[in-house]
Amino acid sequence: MTVTKRIIPCLDVDNGRVVKGVKFVNIKDAGNPVEVAKRYNDQGADEITFLDITASSSNRKTILSVVEKVASQVFIPLTVGGGIKSLDDIRSLLNSGADKITINTSAIHNPDLISDASESIGNQCIVVAIDAKRKTSGSTNPSWEIYTHGGRNPTGIDAIAWAIEMEKRGAGELLVTSMDKDGTKEGFDLELMKSINENVNIPIIASGGVGNLDDLYDGIAIGKADAVLAASIFHFGNYTIQEAKEYLTNKGINMRVTNE
């Protein structure tokens, strides 16, 4: 008995509605965030992550009311990311009912934001998202570069060094996405997950590339991730979270399975 591995469904939210699409193509309305979150909670999701993809900044406040509504009905940890730039942004989200916030681009532009947020609010609610892409493929000593703006802009920063730096500055958790694998359904970049895990001692959430339940297993068993995040395999009804948990439990992974 110890802390269980987590399964985290990730929902893209645009203008207050859950949307789903493959690589931002064919985006279609997938429902009311409260209903979708409730459904995942009932299936046994360990947390829920909302990614605000609302393009227009004038509509960005909408996410606050979404979080507020979900937090009044669904009582598992809620993580919210997308466009967070300041301590005020973080506080507004937490006050609306988010438990953790995830930051990528702003952490790179302004690393002090992570130190300040961790210092004043506590590291338990600060998740740093790392979008990493392999610099050399097939090499025996792979290395990865981190990207900002949803994987569009390279930074020249090494992913492992960045993970270490973020832990030092007070990140409570790292959400690691492989840009190479994201959307491919080929499975996580296991070497990336493993390398980061070997260099930090905070929990790691693996993301990017999940196509089936074996991928989740590999992320935990080989990639050593503490949690796995997935979107499409759950949204498109390929698997329920319950099925994923049963599968992983049968393969010896310690999961929270409730059958009360």
Binding site: M1, D46, P77, D99, Q124, I202, R256, T258
Partner: protein, 207 residues
């Protein structure tokens, strides 16, 4: 209608707790306050908290609510959550030693972490609380039940008989205590789905 006061001392995001209590006790009045009169007149008190022990204690002292907490925890149901559990002890190892409220004899220790034991800090995620003593707070909750945790320190009470729940993260630690009117839990019932809501419901039902 009963009044449930949630003590506000500027140290935590209280909304999750408020929303969960409103959900399980829709007919009761939930108030967030650090005002003496308001807290004195409440039927039940919830004392949440997060962040570091030192900041927490500073905040309690600055707001002059130390005695208010001590007094009110003596004569009505009182629930400490997370840091609100830890500061009930005499002192904490956090921040090179922090003197706490001393309502419960014992101290607060840090998890030992190493690559070998694969124990990460913070202890973050879902873990089992094994309830080892019959208590109304465990009504309709399985003897082994999952709760959500986020913390790096844990309480170590002197009197082991007040421990009513334990959890393992590397070592076995005390995750729930019950002493007189005080119940305190290291996990977050407000974030522990149906089990956590039942726990809060049980607390609301206590006299």
């Amino acid at each position: 209608m009963k009044t449930i006061a949630i003590i506000d001392y500027g140290m935590s995001n209280l909304n999750s707790v408020v929303k969960a209590i409103e959900y399980v006790a829709p007919n009761d009045k939930v108030i967030i306050s650090s005002d003496q009169k308001v807290i004195d007149s409440a039927d039940k008190i919830i004392f949440p908290g997060q962040g570091a022990a030192k900041n927490c204690m500073q905040s309690i002292l600055e707001r002059n609510i130390k005695n208010l907490i001590i007094k009110n925890s003596a004569d009505r149901p009182f629930l400490g959550i997370c840091m609100g559990m830890q500061v009930l002890m005499e002192n904490s190892d956090e921040n090179n030693g922090t003197e706490c409220l001393g309502l419960i004899e014992g101290d607060v220790k840090k998890f030992s972490s190493s690559k070998k034991n694969n124990i990460k800090i913070p202890h973050m995620g879902w873990n089992k609380i094994i309830n080892r003593t019959e208590h109304p707070i465990w009504n309709k909750i399985n003897q082994e039940a999952f709760f959500y945790f986020v913390h790096s320190f844990y309480v170590n009470p002197k009197d082991k008989s007040i421990i009513i729940g334990e959890t393992k993260h590397g070592e076995i630690f005390c995750s729930v205590v019950a002493k007189d009117n005080i119940i305190a839990i290291q996990g977050h019932p407000e974030k522990s789905s149906d089990t956590g809501l039942q726990f809060l419901k049980n607390f609301i039902g206590m006299k």
